[in-house]
């Protein structure tokens, strides 16, 4: 029996096509996107410091110029890889069990199977569609100019756009609902990413799982507190 490596493929092929490489990339991009949403959420919360603070934050980001474009391209790549690999894993799973069970029940105990873990494809697809609508509504949405300028440059009044959009129950509750799905996605996603990177062991796993779920929940709350506050209080004057 030969012990030669029969399939020593190039690194990039192992990363994109092997069952382990795919998990590594899905986990890495997932963690990257988690960091992004944390930063995004923190930025959103600057709204509570007033319209000017919020507009100034957005202005600062926009004035990064080429740096912002590079970051956006990186983000786009992370989203594309994460989505393509996620869908690929879902389709592969359907092929791996063509005939399903009449009865299927989780054994509980050590299992981490949950609504979260079973619905990753559903929550993921909804989040992807939401992302497009979200960019259309806000980033590429109506442009208002703020009364005050910064360093003599005109400032976009994003706070006004927010105040307007989230008067609508569809926007306020739709946005909040999707954030609940984000929490569900992260509840399985964060711990799963660590496991995919091999960064777990039986002592760490319960801690990582609990912290992951908690982080997911806090991110979601941090996001939906803003539209709900605007909807119920009318927002900043």
């Amino acid at each position: 029996m030969s012990t030669q490596v029969r399939e020593k493929q190039p690194l990039w092929r192992q990363l994109f096509t092997s069952q382990i490489g795919k998990k590594l990339l899905t986990g890495l991009t997932g963690l990257g996107l988690t960091l992004f949403v944390i930063v995004h959420m923190a930025g959103n919360l600057s709204y509570f410091a007033g319209n000017e603070a919020y507009n100034a934050y957005a202005h600062k980001l926009l004035s990064l110029g080429p740096l912002l474009y590079i970051a956006e391209l990186g983000l786009l790549a992370f989203f594309v890889f994460h989505i393509v690999l996620g869908v690929n894993i879902y389709l592969g799973k359907r092929k791996a069990r063509e005939q399903g069970y009449k009865r299927y029940k989780t054994a509980g105990g050590q299992s981490k199977q949950s609504l979260s873990s079973r619905s990753m494809i559903v929550t993921g697809v909804i989040l992807g569609v939401f992302l497009v609508l979200h960019l259309v509504s806000f980033k590429f949405g109506a442009y208002y100019e703020a009364a005050e300028s910064i360093d003599g440059k005109p400032v976009r009044d994003l706070a006004r756009l927010l105040n307007e959009k989230f008067q609508s129950p569809l926007y306020a509750f739709g946005y909040s609902g999707v954030m609940v799905l984000l929490a569900l996605h992260l509840r399985h996603g964060i711990w799963s990413a660590f496991q995919s990177l091999g960064a777990t062991n039986p002592r760490l796993t319960p801690l990582i799982y609990t912290l992951g779920a908690l982080v997911g929940l806090l991110i979601a709350v941090g996001f939906f507190i803003l539209p709900l506050w605007i909807f119920f209080t009318g927002g900043n004057a």
Binding site: K102, A107, K112, Q113, S192, Q195
Partner: protein, 248 residues
């Protein structure tokens, strides 16, 4: 006790299957699940019907042959218990049970509840061994092995290759099996020389056999009759990354 069974019957690999309903009266709570099937098969034989085909060998919970999904759970409702060690006292009089084979494209049904698990053997052939002449047993303690590593290697070596991990996995992934087979060798000195090649070859064979990708549901650990930890899957991933970057 009386047990009502819905058993998957399938005449051959390419034949369509269906559930058949049977009633087994006078089941003793002390019977194993397989003994209950023995009684059913005697009953079917006396009626001139074809008995239900199912795999079994040692009936001691160590050979990994008996594979049945009982009411949606691989090896039935009890933790760390193979079907042969599952006793009818775990059920109630009048229970209705659905009994199905392992369902995975890589484990095609041969007949009724018997599936072809050669895919596991081919994964083992791809690297689940050490290519050394073992010769005589070495003197005790001539090769120092850390006690924790030895115990952990033994825990992974407890894998009986039954395939419950694949059967219970929502994705029909074989990651726990492959992880266990890799980990029990990579924890010991004998496993080191071929460590990189082993992980690459076995992982690629796992894919070629048509098992699904792991989604970290950890359902495999919950149904494993030997309680093998998904830490073995994490270890497999660490080894794979190292092997990917290695020069050999």
């Amino acid at each position: 006790m009386t047990i009502y069974l819905n058993v998957w019957r399938q005449e051959g690999p390419d034949k369509p299957g269906r559930f058949e309903t049977y009633t087994v009266p006078d089941v003793s709570p002390d019977m194993s699940f397989l003994e209950m099937f023995d009684v059913l098969n005697e009953q079917l034989t006396l009626e001139g019907k074809e008995p239900v085909e199912f795999d079994h060998d040692c009936r001691e919970g160590i050979c990994g042959s008996c594979n049945m999904v009982i009411n949606g759970q691989a090896h039935g409702p009890n933790a760390r218990t193979a079907t042969c060690q599952l006793h009818m006292r775990s059920f109630k009089d009048g229970d209705t049970l659905f009994v199905e084979p392992w369902r995975a494209s890589a484990f095609p049904v041969i007949k009724d509840l018997v599936v072809d698990r050669d895919a596991f053997d081919r994964i083992m052939e791809a690297g689940g061994y050490v290519s050394v002449n073992t010769g005589n047993a070495p003197d005790a303690n001539s090769i120092p092995i850390d006690k924790v590593a030895a115990d952990s290697a033994m825990d992974y070596a407890a894998c009986i290759g039954c395939g419950a991990c694949v059967a219970a996995c929502p994705n029909a992934s074989a990651s726990l099996f492959v992880g266990a087979k890799l980990a029990h060798l990579s924890l010991l000195p004998q496993g080191q020389p071929e460590r990189n090649r082993r992980v690459v070859n076995m992982v690629h064979q796992m894919k070629e056999e048509g098992f699904g990708d792991c989604s970290n549901h950890a359902e495999c650990e919950a149904v494993c009759p030997k309680g093998i930890s998904i830490a073995g899957i994490a270890a497999m991933r660490r080894d794979y990354v190292k092997a990917m970057l290695a020069a050999d």
